[in-house]
């Protein structure tokens, strides 16, 4: 491991080849179940997919075609796949913007705000994370209707702007930041918001990336809540839209599979974008170095 590169908190480079080979093998094993998905998405006939499920034939395609991919995009105006995708991107973008801001502000205050009853708030946060979503969707639906937000984007965005999970996660990270950093900023006369904005956020990229990635995936794959709160195709996200291919009496496997692949692509890109923030933060090189 060269000391010039970032992100090497891990140990040495004694066995680079072994490491490379082992990670390659592990990755292959981990990813292999997904080949089934890809392969099925290339088979043209849903009956063929069904007949070949349950054996190794599910991993082999002899007559690959991209027809399914064309079909889902032009499938029919009544299941506007592209619209579902755009809807999901809208929900994702706005959930993320608010979510990162509000969760991190709250975590900052909890970690450094000398708040009375901090322990109680934290316990309450953890407690609220226990509540399964399935148990609150009905009252939540009533609340949304009363707010006039039925069948809207806002109903899918607002409730996820703050979550005990991410407040707790960011709290754990913020509270590890060395005290001197905070004190120095206070001495410089910075306001709490300035300390948060100018000092803490910039050195918390890995933690923020984590929240972005996890919140992003959670939002993208939400099912029960958007199912209940959306009615028309107006704000319906891809996760609910795709369930239409899993029909009543017969499942449109070819379309369901290719649609699932398409659904994964944007989140993968999104993850790869944010994982670049996983770099050793200023704490290591700047403060103590």
């Amino acid at each position: 491991m060269s000391s010039a590169t970032q992100g090497q908190s891990g140990p040495t480079d004694k066995f680079p080849v072994i490491k490379f080979v082992s990670i390659a093998i592990i990755s292959l094993v981990i990813v292999s179940p997904l080949f089934l998905l890809i392969v099925a998405s290339l088979k043209p006939d849903r009956f063929q997919i069904l007949a070949e499920m349950g054996s190794f034939k599910a991993f082999i395609v002899t007559n690959p075609t991209l027809k399914n991919y064309g079909d889902i995009l032009t499938f029919s105006g009544n299941q506007p796949f592209a619209r579902y995708l755009v809807n999901s991107v809208i929900v994702l973008t706005f959930t993320l913007l608010g979510g990162m801001l509000f969760n991190s502000m709250a975590a900052f205050v909890l970690a450094w705000g000398r708040l009375p009853g901090r322990a109680i708030i934290l316990t309450l946060m953890i407690g609220l994370y226990i509540v399964p979503q399935e148990s609150i969707v009905l009252p939540l639906l009533n609340i949304m209707n009363n707010l006039g937000l039925a069948d809207s984007f806002a109903a899918q965005i607002l409730p996820f702007w703050a979550s005990p999970l991410y407040v707790f996660l960011l709290y754990q990270f913020f509270s590890q930041i060395p005290r001197d950093l905070y004190d120095a900023a206070v001495v410089d006369g910075a306001s709490p918001f300035e300390i948060y904005w100018k000092v803490f956020l910039p050195i918390s990229l890995p933690a923020l990336a984590t929240v972005a990635i996890l919140l992003g995936i959670e939002t993208w794959n939400q099912y029960l809540w958007p199912l209940l709160v959306t009615q028309s195709n107006y704000a319906r996200p891809i996760s609910v839209g795709i369930a239409g291919f899993f029909g009543a009496d017969s499942i449109y496997w070819n379309l369901a599979m290719s649609a699932s692949v398409v659904m994964m692509a944007p989140v993968l890109a999104f993850y790869l974008m944010f994982q670049k923030w996983f770099v050793s933060s200023v704490i290591s090189s700047g403060v103590k170095g």
Binding site: L34, L37, S55, V131, F168, L268, L272
Partner: protein, 279 residues
């Protein structure tokens, strides 16, 4: 600055949850119509139902299996892909793929892999044991159903913990490793005395959160086994969902939610106490 988060969490999480308490004291149905106060009847009914206790035992078993497997594997993978190796971004992406796959698709895939008796997993088992181990009815045999769910769940979700660990690793000052190296510490010693202590906060977070997530096990159960065979994979949330959405007994389902909340809260408090800073 705390206010926006507090308002949102209160309005969209705390209030709906608190609302379920009065409901749990009534015989309210999913489809609204006159209902009456029934006191603690719902709680008595839940707590005297052997299926509820079976479900609670199942999630406890699930948690005990999945937490170490999933967190351990996630940490190992985080350590691996935190290193400078060729194609690092590629591996980071590949190892994260299961985590971005929606649970419906995961269940389709694993339902096929687990298929009895000729599914791919059984063929691999047969091949590795030279046909000595007969095909296993992974999801259909009460003895293997929960371990099979553990395998599927850990595969799908370890990416979550991996990312958290990855972020945690960035917070360990590089100079500590440098110092350890100068002291002639072995790889293991560096892991034991630099990495692990450096991940303390991360570990607390990961353990508490993974435990809570495990206790809420639901989606994959609802899609794949609906709690069967013979309640061997029934979980508390599946039980609640069935009672509420299928049986339409909202009052009873609310009581299950409250009971689950109390149990998991107690566990989390114990965990926090055990993992507390002893400084």
């Amino acid at each position: 600055m705390l206010l926006p988060a507090c308002i949102i969490i209160s309005a969209f999480l705390l209030v709906p949850f608190v609302m379920s308490f009065p409901i749990s004291l009534t015989n309210q149905r999913l489809i609204p119509r006159p209902y009456r106060f029934v006191g603690l009847d719902n709680y008595v009914q839940v707590l005297t139902d052997p299926v509820f206790w079976q479900a609670l035992w199942n999630v406890t078993r699930f948690t005990a299996m999945v937490v170490p497997v999933q967190c351990g594997f996630a940490l190992a993978m985080a350590l691996l892909i935190n290193q400078k190796i060729p194609g690092r971004n590629f591996f980071r992406g590949a190892l994260f793929l299961p985590a971005i796959t929606s649970m419906t698709v995961v269940c389709v895939i694993w339902g096929t892999l687990f298929q009895f008796p000729t599914g791919p997993l059984n063929q691999i088992v047969g091949f590795l044991t030279l046909g000595m181990a007969g095909p296993i009815d992974w999801l259909g045999d009460p003895r293997s159903s929960m371990p099979a769910i553990v395998l599927l769940s850990a595969w799908q979700a370890y990416g979550f913990q991996m990312v958290v660990y990855l972020a945690g690793l960035q917070n360990i000052p590089a100079d500590l490793y440098e110092a350890a190296r100068l002291d002639g510490a072995s790889t293991w010693q560096r892991f034991r005395f630099v990495t692990l202590p450096g991940l303390r906060q991360t570990n607390i977070f990961v353990l508490i959160i993974t435990t809570i997530q495990a206790f809420k096990l639901f989606t994959q159960i609802n899609i794949l086994t609906q709690g069967g065979p013979r309640d061997s994979t029934n979980t508390v949330v599946q039980y609640m969902y069935t009672v509420g959405f299928v049986g339409q007994k909202l009052g009873l389902a609310s009581a299950v939610a409250i009971i689950l909340f109390v149990i998991v809260l107690l566990i989390s408090l114990v965990q926090r106490y055990v993992l507390r800073d002893r400084k």
